[in-house]
């Protein structure tokens, strides 16, 4: 696993980042002049980047290639280079980001066609792609951190794209802040690395991390995990992700489903040499993954907002990936594989949801949908394929990659293996339930269409233009085939071997076939349950009030927001108000009080200046006595 300097095409891999960045710069600085062709430029930069990434990946041949650009910071013993590392892992991510990114750019041309700020939308998307590529291509943790916060910024800008809507603005801020909480973890991890190892490059850290005390390694691992949780919407920082659906749907597809939110998985996978040394941190990753998996799945069952259901689904699926990376060497490749397939089908699902919203006057309440299958045939088919891939329908993408994770969890053996495997299987059932519920409410049943606002005509659903449907079709092809390709045709674990080491045959606790059967059975149960609860009956247009405690909790996403509010926000506001009072009355008050005190004593002392000669004489006599007394005291003493 030696890194070699870049040559040939690979030395131009910085173009991957530079192109979208230049696109963003041109579009932002060019102003309205670029309105007419801005979207085309934006799409082109990412498409070209995809081509370059593809070419780079093909010329990689199992190597790890370093590209030194310039010295970013060099002072004291700290040296941070602006350098890139192009290895199989980053190549996979670069392909995912530019590939799915390019498709979503194309889709956005149609989706945002009527938005007066389309140019800026493409600028932000380009900015995102650039930052995301920096995140995965950087050869050190600081570069990763720069990209990490860069995607956070792009995410902020895009969630708040329709910033006139207070909900969008608030969601964007919430996303940024919760991400910052995670960023603190990442930053502290970098500080610890520098303090302990004197370097922040992957090569340097991984090369000497073995010398560190166990506790330190665990601390680094946990801090990195905190960062990963923030970015990937994992417990306990999951609450921002569903709110982020306030952004335009292509954003949800690209950033909040396919790429950015998986950065946490990338971080942990990239830091594999660290996690390999700390069982404790890995266990915490496992727990976080399992808990999030369940939270996402449960909440997904209760929401009526199509995008929020998909968002919780994302939370849940990333939980699977965390679970996988938490398993250690056996799970890394599986996690990345699931990440890739998830990127395809979840992006496809979001694009489909966007198409549905496009047809329905931007409504998102599934209780107002229904019977759209006939009106939106292409959307229905592509969405349906994505749905099947997600629930793990046999031989579609999700089946291959999710099963691999469940298998790996069960292979862990012992109580923990059973618990984790059980959770994963249960999650698969729940996934099937909520996704089937979504399908039924959206595409089947009676049309429950209603005007999006009082006074507006009821929507007349129509299929989206081809500029939108073509990307959906491409992604649905990916949803169907990617899993098979990555597991069976071009095994990803072998491709990633230079990074994670050679895949080794696991000792199966339960035979894979049995697992596959059980998982499929549970999935079918989930589908049936959804049909029983939702499909058989008329869907009420207004969500029922009288529901069980479980449903109520699920609708509130297990009270995550309430907990955040009562634990942080309200005390924070209270503290802020208290401190403002303290600062004005206490700190500043002390100063002003001193001034007032001086003024007061001035007036009081001034009273002694009575204007009477005899008083003055008295004062002088008193002074004389004091002076004489003082002098005598000094001489006597």
């Amino acid at each position: 696993m030696d890194t070699v300097p870049a040559d040939g095409l690979l030395s131009a891999s910085w173009l991957l980042i530079a192109l979208p960045l230049a696109g963003a710069a041109v579009l932002l600085l060019g102003g309205r002049r670029t309105d007419r062709w801005g979207h085309l430029l934006g799409t082109a930069t990412v498409a070209i980047a995809f081509v370059i990434a593809l070419a780079c990946a093909f010329s990689l041949d199992d190597r790890q290639v370093a590209v030194h650009l310039f010295t970013f910071i060099d002072t004291g013993s700290l040296e941070v280079d602006a350098g890139l590392l192009f290895d199989p892992l980053s190549a996979v991510f670069a392909l995912l980001i530019t590939g799915v990114g390019a498709l979503i750019h194309v889709y956005s041309i149609g989706y945002m066609a009527h938005d007066p700020r389309r140019r800026r939308f493409f600028a932000y998307l380009n900015l995102f792609v650039a930052a995301m590529l920096l995140l995965v291509l950087g050869d050190n943790y600081v570069a990763l951190y720069v990209g990490w916060e860069g995607v956070g910024l792009a995410s902020y800008l895009l969630i708040a794209f329709w910033h006139e809507r207070p909900a969008a603005a608030t969601a964007a801020k919430k996303a940024f802040i919760m991400n910052r909480v995670g960023d603190v973890g990442l930053a502290l991890a970098i500080f610890v690395m520098f303090a302990q190892l004197g370097t922040v490059t992957y090569e340097g850290v991984f090369g000497s991390v073995g010398l560190l005390a166990g506790g330190t390694v665990t601390a680094i691992g946990l801090l990195l995990l905190l960062g990963a949780c923030g970015k990937s919407g994992q417990f306990p920082l999951q609450a921002w992700l569903p709110d982020a659906m306030e952004g335009p749907t292509p954003v949800s597809a690209l950033i909040h489903a396919a790429t950015m939110v998986t950065a946490g998985v990338y971080l942990i996978a990239r830091s594999a040499p660290i996690y390999d040394l700390t069982e404790t941190a890995r266990t915490v990753v496992l727990v976080v993954g399992a808990v999030t998996l369940m939270i996402g799945a449960i909440a997904g069952c209760a929401y009526d907002d199509i995008k929020k259901v998909l968002a919780y689904s994302t939370v849940s699926q990333i939980g699977y990936m965390f679970l996988a990376v938490g398993l250690g060497p056996v799970g890394y490749a599986a996690a990345i594989a699931h990440l890739l397939t998830h990127g395809f089908f979840k992006a496809g699902l979001f694009l489909g949801a966007g198409s549905v919203m496009h047809a329905m006057d931007d409504q998102v309440d599934m209780r107002r949908f229904g019977g759209l299958a006939r009106k939106l045939p292409i959307t229905f088919v592509t969405f349906g394929l994505g749905y099947l891939a997600l629930i793990g329908f046999p031989f579609l993408s999700g089946y291959w990659t999710k099963d691999a994770i469940i298998e790996a969890a069960l292979d862990r053996g012992g109580v923990s293996g059973w618990v984790l495997g059980g959770v994963a299987v249960l999650g698969a059932g729940l996934t099937a339930f909520y996704m089937t519920r979504l399908m039924l409410m959206t595409f089947f049943g009676r049309a429950r269409w209603a005007p999006s606002a009082p006074g507006r005509p009821a929507p007349h659903p129509h299929e989206s233009p081809s500029v939108m449907t073509v990307p959906m079709v491409v992604l649905s092809v990916g949803s169907v085939a990617a899993g098979f390709l990555l597991v069976q045709v071009f095994p990803l674990d072998e491709w990633l071997a230079p990074v994670f080491g050679e895949p080794h045959e696991a000792e199966h606790v339960i035979a894979p076939a049995v697992v596959a059967t059980v998982v499929t059975a549970v999935m079918v149960l989930g589908v049936l349950a959804a049909w029983l609860f939702v499909g058989r009956r008329e869907v009420p247009v207004v969500a029922p009030e009288r529901v069980s405690v479980v449903t109520r909790a699920a609708r509130k996403a297990l009270y995550a927001d309430a907990i955040n509010e009562s634990l942080f926000m309200r005390p924070g506001q209270w503290l802020t108000r208290a401190l403002v009072w303290v600062d004005n009355r206490g700190v500043d008050g002390a100063v002003n009080g001193l001034a007032a005190g001086l003024g007061g004593s001035s007036s009081r002392l001034g009273r002694a200046q009575t204007g009477f000669v005899r008083t003055y004489a008295m004062g002088m006599l008193g002074g004389a006595v004091l002076v004489a007394g003082a002098l005598l005291a000094v001489t006597a003493g």
Binding site: R607, Q609, T610, F612, V613, R614, A617
Partner: protein, 99 residues
């Protein structure tokens, strides 16, 4: 009668003068009290001159008398002018300037 007696007497005179300045209201009387203080100093000087056997102190007493006379001239002029304006020689009435 020792040296101390004269000195104590002078000190008492000085104190009486000083207290007079503090308690009397009429500007002329106040001023006379100051003169009393000056004269107590004269007594002190002369006493010390006697004690040390030099004449310096006595000569100084003459100086003091001359100075006191000059002071009287200036002082009475000032008191006079304010008296003519206010028709009062009470020092307590001159109380416009304060605080």
């Amino acid at each position: 009668m020792t040296l101390a007696h004269y000195l104590v007497l002078a000190a008492m005179l000085f104190t009486i003068g000083a207290v007079g300045v503090l308690v009397r209201r009429n500007a002329i009387v106040v001023f006379m009290c100051v003169e009393l203080m000056l004269n107590s100093v004269n007594l002190t000087l002369v006493t010390f001159a006697r004690a040390t056997g030099t004449v310096d102190g006595q000569i100084m007493a003459f100086f003091v008398m001359v100075v006191a006379a000059a002071e009287v001239v200036v002082g009475l002029a000032i008191i006079m002018s304010i008296y003519r304006t206010r028709r009062s020689a009470s020092v307590d009435d001159a109380n416009l300037l304060k605080y």
